[in-house]
């Protein structure tokens, strides 16, 4: 299930886009590179002309004063204005709307992702919608990677999967990201999502997947010798397929709670 790239992704060499907010990021990247291109080409033309025109063999006596007009000041002011527009018109509002604010939609899918060397634990709250308590003393690498407290009633229906993040399409997603050991960084390239997973903190991430398909979870922060292979999988499916997957996982974790490692 390859997701098609749009024109913006093609000319900028960006990955395909599959989230609601990502278009704005791509557009900003495009605008910024356009600005860079204009400035660079402008400089380059000036540079080449000057080197040609004022080489010593052609221009043997230098002009003490040089340039006496103020065009460069206008250009500098222009750059400052464009930067201000990008900052105030795009970047800050985007951050307030898409990164900072928590979703209020009651239909939101809430998931916990807990990173560790070198895998991603994905924790669904199950039918009750409440995450069971966890305790670092209960962690067992094989049977209980998150240290779920089985005596907590809320933990009974919780689902834990390794490196498999399944999400439904066109629904608000809220992921609480943390880490068990060192700093990792949770990168969903096609969703334009990247967030450091920081031990001791639980950081919310929000986005809406708008295309079904499979892609990768990458680790973007050096986390040790296995950093390069700390890869997970993201599957975005229809609501129905997502519910079916959850049901099958629930059954699996009940029948063989110590075998999901494989």
């Amino acid at each position: 299930m390859e997701i098609e790239k749009g024109w913006l992704q093609k000319i900028m060499g960006l990955p395909p886009l599959a989230s609601a907010h990502g278009g704005e990021i791509d557009f900003m990247i495009f605008l910024l590179h356009l600005l860079m291109l204009v400035l660079f080409v402008g400089w380059a033309v000036f540079f080449i002309v000057v080197l040609w025109k004022f080489r010593a063999s052609r221009h043997s006596k230098a002009n003490y004063k040089g340039v006496t007009n103020h065009y460069s000041t206008y250009i500098e002011v222009g750059v400052a204005v464009i930067e201000a527009i990008l900052l105030l018109g795009f970047s800050i509002p985007f951050w307030a709307k898409n990164v900072d604010a928590l979703p209020t939609d009651r239909n939101t899918v809430v998931v916990r992702v807990v990173a560790e060397q070198f895998l991603w634990n994905v924790h669904y709250p199950g039918a009750d919608g409440v995450f069971g308590k966890t305790d670092p003393n209960l962690v067992d690498k094989q049977t209980n990677p998150l240290g779920l407290d089985k005596s907590d009633p809320a933990a009974k229906d919780d689902i834990v999967s390794i490196n498999q993040l399944h999400l439904p399409v066109n629904r608000q997603v809220l992921i609480y990201l943390s880490s068990k050991d060192v700093i990792h960084s949770f990168a969903l390239n096609i969703m334009r999502v990247k967030q450091d997973a920081i031990p001791g903190l639980s950081i919310p991430i929000r986005f809406i997947p708008i295309k079904t398909g499979q892609s990768e979870i990458a680790c973007a922060q050096l986390c040790g010798l296995g950093h390069y292979r700390m890869k997970g999988y993201l599957t975005v499916s229809t609501n129905k397929e997502f519910d079916e997957w959850l049901a099958s996982q629930a059954k699996q974790s009940q029948s063989s709670s110590d075998d999901f490692w494989n």
């Binding site: 003490y64 031990p199 973007a220």
Partner: protein, 582 residues
């Protein structure tokens, strides 16, 4: 302002070998030691990345010929281990920044040129100066030795983020100890530079007559003095976390490989990042400002006209220095920052780009109306301008938090800062070596070898760093042992790794003409006069090589630093310390 005693001892005191070479407090000898040591470290740090580029281009294939020399703990049968790759990555960054560029740009250039350019007989505190060099040397030795402790050198990146660095092998302890020496060295150097520039300028040399290089060194010294102490403190705290099991940077509830860590906990992981970047962002300006200073001297000299907008450049560099203290958290946009804080750091980051643009634009405009000589120093200086331009421009999408979401921690970042420090700063350092070599040795460096060094280096630099931008846009993370080979999203840009590696190796080959040039020119180079480039600044007004005490006369300053092609003068340069215009 002026020093009272104008009497200088211009005779070489007779000392034995140790006092003449090793424990000589003369700023020029210390500068030479700094320069030689830093160039060796630069070459070594460059060598580390040559090895990494093999693994990136040909993941997990044995390195031919030399691969087996590295032993089973690093490269069994010539195949690099991820542990060793991470060591190379961390130490490449550390060595290039703290043991290569800073000691060369500040320790060597600053020490050699500041007293000469301001007409002083030596630095203000010659013994502190010597102590600064030896602290640097010891720090460097500790860093190199760390490759041979069990588990190898530090492997948590040059940033040494906690908790990874706290749970790392012994090499990390060595890294911290090495850093403490290197920081001490920079602090000693910084106080010395500041005192010298404030107190020992020749009569008549007011601040607005200082060569731009001196301004750059002065601002750099303040950055080092004010930004390094927090990292020194943070380094000691990390050392305590490692050896005394404190928890400054360690939160409660850490579970490493299934084991609940028995530590007191309660620390803050992000505290380290704040302390680190509070140094490391000003440090970026420590890397670039002296380079801008060198470039300015060379451009003024080889356009035969004054720098355009000297005052604007001076104000800009001072503002750059001040602002560089309040942009640090733009390295941390994706650590979970709210809108208010991210807005502040985005705004300061956009604002700091303006003085950088002003300086770069002033240098471009300085070329207009010149009579441009294309000698080797000038070629490197000219190449600096567009290359630094690319480095600066690619900082824009990283400095805005929203596009940074996609580009953070990808190869785009690596491409961006390498454009600034490699064809930017390192080209400036090369330019300076070709330019001031005649003052140090009395001989010019060879032009043909210079061309053979410059052109291939320029082409290869771009072939190495431009593809990184493409990989970064495609989303390839940095610091991957296999260069992204195991990720599907990297497949379309993976072939660029082979191109980049070959370009890097070709670039390495074309550094050989430079090394040969240094040694050949030392003995066989064309003899140079005291002022071979017909320059205006004061280091060229004294004898070559400058005697002990620097000046055989009492230098007085009559005019600004770049009085070239003064209207009405017959000679196209009018030195700062020459009384009459001729």
């Amino acid at each position: 302002m002026a020093h009272d005693s104008n009497h200088q001892d211009s005779h070489h005191p007779k000392h034995g070998f140790w006092r003449t070479y090793v424990f000589n407090t003369d700023h020029k000898m210390i500068a030479l030691w700094y320069g030689i040591t830093a160039l060796c470290f630069l070459l070594f740090g460059f060598g580390l990345v040559m090895l990494m580029r093999w693994q990136l281009a040909y993941p997990e294939q044995p390195l031919p010929l030399i691969g087996k020399w590295f032993g089973p703990t690093r490269m069994p049968d010539g195949v690099m281990l991820p542990e060793f790759y991470n060591q190379l990555g961390a130490m490449h960054g550390t060595i290039m920044v703290f043991m290569g560029i800073v000691p060369l740009a500040v320790g060597a250039y600053g020490n050699f040129l500041i007293p000469l350019m301001i007409g002083a007989p030596d630095m203000a505190f010659p013994k502190i100066n010597l102590a600064s060099y030896w602290a640097f040397f010891i720090g460097g030795v500790v860093m190199l030795a760390s490759f041979f402790v069990p588990g190898g050198a530090a492997s948590s990146g040059w940033t040494s983020y906690t908790p990874l660095a706290v749970i790392a092998t012994t090499g990390q302890t060595m890294w911290i100890i090495g850093m403490i020496f290197l920081i001490t060295s920079s602090l000693l150097g910084a106080v010395n530079f500041i005192a010298t520039i404030f107190q020992m300028r020749a009569p008549g040399l007011s601040f607005m007559k200082l060569p731009f290089f001196i301004w750059a060194q002065l601002v750099t010294a303040f950055l080092l003095l004010l930004a390094f102490p927090p990292l020194e403190a943070a380094g000691v705290m990390q050392l305590m976390d490692r050896v005394a099991h404190t928890s400054f940077f360690m939160p409660s509830g850490l579970v490493v490989s299934g084991e609940h860590l028995k530590i007191s906990g309660g620390g803050s992981v992000l505290l380290w990042q704040h302390l680190f970047w509070f140094l490391a962002h000003p440090e970026v300006y420590v890397l670039i400002l002296p380079a801008m200073g060198i470039i300015s001297e060379i451009i003024a000299n080889n356009t035969r006209k004054p720098l355009w907008g000297y005052k604007g450049m001076v104000y800009s560099i001072v503002i750059l220095g001040l602002l560089s203290f309040i942009v640090w958290a733009h390295h941390m946009f994706i650590t979970g920052m709210g809108t208010t804080i991210s807005a502040f750091f985005q705004a300061t980051t956009m604002i700091i780009s303006i003085p950088s643009v002003v300086i770069l634009t002033a240098l471009f405009i300085s070329l207009w109306g010149g009579s441009i000589r294309f000698n080797i120093p000038m070629l490197f200086a000219l190449a600096f301008l567009p290359m630094f331009g690319i480095g600066g421009l690619t900082g824009l999408p990283l400095g805005l938090s929203s596009p940074d979401i996609q580009l953070h921690d990808t190869y785009y970042v690596i491409g961006h800062f390498h454009y600034i420090v490699a064809p930017g700063t390192i080209f400036a350092l090369f330019a300076g070596i070709y330019y001031w070599f005649p003052k140090i040795t009395g001989r010019k460096m060879n032009d043909l070898l210079g061309h053979l060094h410059f052109w291939p280096s320029l082409i290869c630099m771009n072939l190495v760093f431009m593809p990184m931008m493409i990989q970064g846009l495609a989303g390839v993370s940095r610091r991957l042992y296999d260069g992204g080979a195991s990720y599907a999203h990297a497949q379309g840009v993976l072939h660029l790794n082979v191109l980049m590696s070959h370009a890097a190796w070709v670039m390495a080959v074309f550094q050989i003409p430079f090394i040969i040039n240094i040694f050949w020119s030392l003995y066989k180079g064309q003899k140079a006069s005291d002022n071979p480039w017909e320059s205006t600044t004061m280091e060229w007004a004294t004898a070559t090589p400058p005697p002990h005490g620097n000046f055989a006369f009492d230098p007085k300053v009559y005019r600004g630093p770049y009085e070239y092609s003064v209207p009405g003068a017959t000679q196209d340069y009018t030195p700062q310390c020459q009384e009459k215009v001729i």
